[in-house]
Symmetry: C2
Subunit: 378 residues, 2 copies
Amino acid sequence: MIKYELIKKDNETNARYGKIETNYGTYETPMFMPVGTRATVKSLTKEELIDAHSGIILANTYHLWLRPGEDVIARCGGLHKFMNYDRPILTDSGGFQVFSLAKNKEKDISEEGVIFKSHIDGKKLLLTPEKSIEIQNKLDSDIAMSFDECPPASASYEYLKNSVLRTLRWALRGKKVHNNPRQALFGIVQGGAYEDLRKLSAAKTVEMDFDGYSIGGVANDGESKEDMYKAIDYSIPYLPDDKVRYLMGIGEPVDIIEAVIRGVDIFDCVLPTRIARHGQAFTRYGKINFHNAKYKEDLSPVEEGCDCYTCKNYSKAYIRHLITTEEMLGGRLLSIHNIRFLTRLTEELRDAIKEGKVLEYKENFLKNYKEKNLIDKK
Amino acid sequence: MIKYELIKKDNETNARYGKIETNYGTYETPMFMPVGTRATVKSLTKEELIDAHSGIILANTYHLWLRPGEDVIARCGGLHKFMNYDRPILTDSGGFQVFSLAKNKEKDISEEGVIFKSHIDGKKLLLTPEKSIEIQNKLDSDIAMSFDECPPASASYEYLKNSVLRTLRWALRGKKVHNNPRQALFGIVQGGAYEDLRKLSAAKTVEMDFDGYSIGGVANDGESKEDMYKAIDYSIPYLPDDKVRYLMGIGEPVDIIEAVIRGVDIFDCVLPTRIARHGQAFTRYGKINFHNAKYKEDLSPVEEGCDCYTCKNYSKAYIRHLITTEEMLGGRLLSIHNIRFLTRLTEELRDAIKEGKVLEYKENFLKNYKEKNLIDKK
């Protein structure tokens, strides 16, 4: 069950402040959702996620289908009990992984679904819209996603048009078999950077009346920022005010701000935990890199003024030591900070919307934040 | 500063219950000390260590000397501040690593010290008794260890005898340069499984009047249990009652019990965290292996009745999933359990000594515990 309540719409932009009522409490939006690929937000416990102000988290249907299998998780009482997380969980459809992990030659897309090779043992598998929903029903997440085709950024208009139509047929097939009354089902808008395709996809998806809507096809390799903003701008006008809007796979701070301004409510991304494992941290000035020798004896926290566990307890010098010696605690501590950085970003955006100062917030943020590369690179 | 107080000696055995007063509070013995090789007990935070009833922890001088360097740690305020641990820390001398990590051809032992190749970049380095103490002084641990030679288990009597005499000369040289009034310095007894060499080493080391005494040379590859017990039995009679006794590198539950019965107070070992990373956990019945498919849907905790964070919050099924998918949280959760298993073992031994039931405790423990291999192996 998911109920979205729009509380305040910004006057100058499409930004909106709202609340999502779930099976596990009510959460404010805009919101960033950390990713727990295999039913674990890499290296972190529930307590750490909650301490970093995490609400909904995301788990990957594809990975859990392969290991340990949806039936195992169902017999263990569902995803919440299995992984010990008593806040809401969203599962993706598995589509993105099938389309991105399998190489072109190794997948066969048909009307029925996608035949592909498992990235673990090379076994041939078939994922269909019905199967995706069936797996998600068993995982017992709070929000399930429709199975969609995720074409590459390079796909032609013709290909994208057929893909959008197929994704609509797949959405309907999935909706028909959805059978978990505790679980919401979201539709996904596709259509690349084409206005007419986004309109077609959004309008027809909304006609099917889902519990929420996601804007997909924006986190592909090679996708430009311009195309991402187009994809959002072309989709948003057709999405109803009373349903939550989810931009899939986006976690760059500037992108989150731009998408919030365009009317998006929720986000997920592996970025905060992935860059953490590579020794990088978000700061309000940009990303910093703990392999950099300048932090060797730096006793300041990762980010001055940050309220996360890492910043309250550890110095840059110690984290640099952990990262350069490949100690697990390093990635763990930076994951905590990076997740908190993005949950704080969305908290600040909520405040800015409430105060009618979203554009001012963006301007101030961009004044400090250098997006490209690492700010401490030589 | 370290003050040992012997509170109760067992009537039937050499086991003793005592207290160690340190710069960071008073702790009861027998005690197990988790190992934080590079100023981090792998993957764990201070809060988790304390929650697992950890008192003193150990850090490795060799590793910290190489990275980040003792001067960096000194400028960061010493080891406690650097790693955020406000309970006592013991540093080893670096000797064990120099002797075990460098292959035979790559080290040159002389009266001055040991020339060896760094395991990181192959650079030639010289570690002497003076250098070891100087590094430990700078690290500012609460307990420093004398630099000793650690001969292989296969060493001849002749070799061992010369080695014992050299270790005595090294201990004296180290003691002379020790220059940190907050830091205790322990001597190390060597001598293999030879009664006369252990006697010689123990008596002469005690003559130098250290703050505590360690029994070394028992954690070598190829060392038999019989030789370990001999090493303890031959050393203990010459160690004073009013100083703490430390058996280096031992963490097998049965070995801890046997050593406590023989009069040892404190222990360290990488075993609990190392086997955790390999997916293994201690239980009162023996070690279990989470790669075993039998745990796939097992909703029970790692060990029924255990009060650790892991057992209170997670099932075997989930931990098996984390271990088989190589998720970092798996090793972290098992490390917490395994450390708590050994701190509980020493707590139970303390109670048994207080109640005069040490042999009864050992008998009951051995009735359940299968030491060899994994108890769930096919």
